[in-house]
């Protein structure tokens, strides 16, 4: 493992280009991921985690677009790549797992065929050979009876099994970076843990770096060495996971950690302790475009700014 970062994201801005002032939804986000490292990205819904991830593989949906910054992957800025070069990278070097295993697979094709596509696309294999490799890929994600399961359709599988198929697809070509966007959110709690362990096990065995996106700090703490906290389109804190839990600096991170239930604290001396919730609502895009987006919420508001008044 070298010290040169695998992914170096600098000052990423994502927004809707065009008329008037550009409306940036993700602003000035930057972090690095080393080869083989697991990096977590936490934040609530709408904080820009998924947009950040999608912009890495250039799959943002119009009218959203990257409006600034650099996405250096192995030293090369992905923003400058041709579409064709980007396609070669996508799936092969950078793979992605999505949140919804129920809808992320084509309902009309067998899972084997959908895995085999990876070998046809990136390894130049014929369908017959690719189909054989798909059996191995299914076996590697611990799907029982893979020889039969390759012929199954997604509707014949449970959510957990489908997510395993997604993992098999993503890791089929041994990518350098796996982006997992809330890979367990849609699954049963019992299955969540298995799927996470599987991702961790396979990636560390293959030396694949992981960008794990979640709103669940517990998930991140289990898997990631470092973590970034996103809040309203900005990366407000980036630390070693251990340090972050021990000493959260940003008020929003403190709020997030305060909202976690703790074992044994329910029947404290002072009676039942309530979970802390984070006041207020996510700011709408209008107020996001104003300078102090954190003003929109009380506990996050900096006392100094409060004194000075604001938006």
């Amino acid at each position: 493992m070298s010290d040169a970062p695998l992914l170096d994201l600098r000052n990423l801005h994502v927004g809707i280009p065009g008329r008037g002032a550009p409306l940036d939804i993700v602003r000035d986000v930057g972090f690095t991921i080393l080869p083989g490292e697991a990096f977590g990205l936490v934040g609530e819904s709408g904080s820009g985690k998924s947009l950040t991830a999608l912009s890495l593989i250039r799959l943002l949906k119009k009218p959203l677009a990257v409006s600034g910054g650099e996405i250096l992957f192995k030293g090369e800025d992905l923003r400058n790549l041709s579409d064709k070069a980007m396609r070669r990278l996508r799936g092969d070097r950078i793979a992605m797992i999505f949140q919804e295993p129920m809808t992320a697979l084509n309902p009309l094709k067998t899972v084997g065929r959908q895995i085999a596509e990876m070998f046809v696309l990136h390894r130049g294999m014929g369908w017959g050979e690719a189909q054989k490799r798909a059996v191995d890929a299914l076996a590697s994600v611990h799907v029982p009876a893979p020889e039969e399961r390759v012929r199954a359709y997604p509707f014949q599988m449970s959510g957990g099994m489908r997510q395993r198929v997604m993992i098999a697809i993503a890791l089929a070509c041994d990518p350098d970076l796996l982006i997992a966007d809330e890979p367990t959110t849609a699954l049963d709690v019992t299955v969540q843990d298995e799927v996470l362990k599987l991702i961790a096990e396979l990636c560390s065995a293959r030396g694949t770096a992981v960008l794990l996106i979640s709103h669940d700090l517990g998930v991140i703490a289990n898997m990631c060495q470092r973590v970034g906290v996103m809040y309203q389109g900005r990366l407000v804190e980036e630390r070693d996971t251990y340090d972050l839990f021990a000493d959260p600096r940003h008020p929003y991170t403190q709020g997030l950690l305060g909202a976690l239930p703790r074992l044994g604290s329910r029947h404290g001396e002072a009676g039942r302790q309530r979970l802390v919730d984070i006041d207020g609502m996510i700011a709408d895009r209008e107020s996001l475009s104003r300078e102090f987006c954190s003003e929109a919420r009380n506990p996050v508001r900096d006392p100094r700014q409060r004194a000075g008044g604001g938006a």
């Binding site: 996508r90 992605m96 697979l105 084509n106």
Partner: protein, 311 residues
Amino acid sequence: MLRFTIRRLLQVIPTLLAVALLIFVIFSVVPGSFASSLMADGRTAADPEMLARLNEQFGLDKPLYLRFADYITGLARFDLGTSFRTREPVLDVINARLWASLKLAVAAMAFAIVVGVPLGFIAALRPGSLLDSVTMIGAVSGLSLPQFWLGLLLMYLFALVLGWLPSFGYGGGSWRYLILPAITLGVTPLALLARTTRAGVLEIANEDFIRTARSKGMSEARVVRWHLVRNVMVLVVTTIGLQFGSMMGQAVVIEKLFSWPGIGSLLVDSVSIRDTPVVQGTILVIVVWFLLINTLVDIVYAAIDPRIKQT
């Protein structure tokens, strides 16, 4: 697949029986009979004695349930009765006309599919483009035009003004006579197909599995070929089936307009002289056609979509 097909075909039988009963009852309670329509000259009242003799001759004096029993036993032997007017078996009368109708329906549907589906596809791939707008405006116009009026318009333009095509008639089966009625009959399904295809493509293109396909590093052409087309076909086949099935019924007006010797014009002629056996037989054929097409659609569905075979 074979079991599915057989099961679906067997399900047609009870429907057919119910329809036969319905047709029979309706035409028995409609006022007027073949006998009275023969005698009516608009001035003198028909001779009651004569009427009674004619009714006896055609078996119309028997009670309804006996007539129905005769009818159904005849049906079981593929005997649809005898035409009051020509004294020929109804089956022969229909047989002489059926092929012209089938030819017209198939030609109209082929025209609708070959033009409508690609148009809808292209329109959807460039939503908001000029081609898209023109196609959709054309589709709405095609849906709202009365068919007989469109037929007259085409006749006027291509037969009278330009003199390229014959204005009406069968021409002994020459394809030049087929063009105008087929286009007239095909415009409505064409417009519907263009709209359904466009809506289908736009819907499927937004599915998660299309994003998955892109994240695999597929070119747009492959995304369309491997993952979009088949899913859209499920939606398009529904429209094709419904339109094709109801086409025999819709063709009644067009056949009359273009003096096309099909079962549509046979139906109109037979209704006006109360030739009940022919009317019943013709409607039965139209219904059988509809049921067969529907069954065919179900079988095609099962071939496209693996989820259907299971249930």
